[in-house]
Symmetry: C2
Subunit: 207 residues, 2 copies
């Protein structure tokens, strides 16, 4: 199952922290797919900022809801002074890493953003994380700045749009079923592991 995520996304933090464990329990392999949500929000909704900033009443609710969710999951929550943070550099670094090293790095970046209140757009923060995880920050910064990796991230974002993705986290099963939101991770894993299918064969047409 594909796990599509944008680093600035608040609800992607609890999802990223639990998906590997939950997917292993369900016997589902996860492909980690970073993308940029900003361009999609702009194309699809004309937004130039997070919807949680654009609609304050939704933002206030989201921060409280996130606090409750993190508390239930035993996750720290300490917000940075900037929201949303720019996740471009971090997303490129994900793609510069070998696939097997990505989950650990992604979790560390989400923790830096939402538990430590660090600036994840800064090279210093990201280099510190890479070093701690045993990687070569300079070599990876070079690789992340390459045309290949830049294009990979653009391709991911275009693919996300083509899949009908409009938010993060999103999950796409092998048979193309899209699930949106941390709330849907369990459903998506049920679907991916064959535990859930539509009992009734019907396609609902939007009126």
């Amino acid at each position: 199952m594909e796990f599509w995520f944008e680093f600035a996304s608040t609800y992607s933090y609890p999802a990223a922290m639990r998906i590997e464990q939950d997917a292993a329990a369900a016997g589902v392999a996860i492909e980690w797919k970073p993308f940029l949500l900003g361009p999609l929000l702009n194309q699809q909704q004309g937004l130039t900022d997070s919807p949680f900033n654009a609609v304050p009443v939704k933002g206030r609710y989201m921060w409280r809801d996130l606090e409750r969710i993190c508390d239930r999951q035993g996750l720290a929550l300490n917000l940075p002074s900037i929201f949303p943070q720019n996740g471009l550099r971090a997303a490129r670094l994900v793609l510069a890493l070998p696939p097997e090293a990505r989950p650990e790095f992604v979790r560390a970046v989400y923790l830096a953003n939402f538990a430590e209140g660090s600036d994840i757009s800064s090279e210093a923060t990201l280099s510190r994380i890479l070093l701690r995880l045993g990687h070569d920050p300079d070599a990876l910064a070079d690789r992340a700045a390459s045309e290949t990796v830049k294009q990979d991230l653009k391709d991911n974002t275009a693919r996300a749009a083509a899949l009908g993705i409009f938010g993060s986290p999103s999950f796409v099963t092998d048979d193309g079923e899209l699930f949106w939101g941390n709330d849907r991770l369990d459903f998506a894993l049920d679907w991916a592991s064959g535990k859930t299918q539509l009992k009734t064969i019907q396609e609902v047409e939007a009126p």
Copy 2:
């Protein structure tokens, strides 16, 4: 716990169909609170239509997601040709009924909208439902058109806005905790029955 609902809301349908049973199992009493979401969406987000119509990519996802949710819950889903439907008349009828008669009527209206594809803005549809449930449709139509009931619905909608509500279904516990969405019904019942509280005493300030 208060259950705040707007009849046009799609995700409120599965919530309305299960809340009485789930709340009884959790030992939580429910107060059914109809309100009009349209004025709130307009005031808070400048919307003049359902966000699912305003943002087609979200609408397409929602209909598929609703199909999956109804299927898991054993609920029929047959959409009316109009979305969203105007729930004003039905909402006033809820308030015209005595409190103990409201849940059954609300469920019947949601079924008419989303399972039977009926026009719930029409007096004929609503009178048929009232008659079937053993009420006097004419007397209730008169009562629903009274200034008292009109004002009650206006007061509910103003109260919803004051509580920070921006969508339906929403749940508000006795201690003022707001939960939004069918996905949060179980959390809200846990909270209302004292099973869940924040383990850490902290208020997260939005940056």
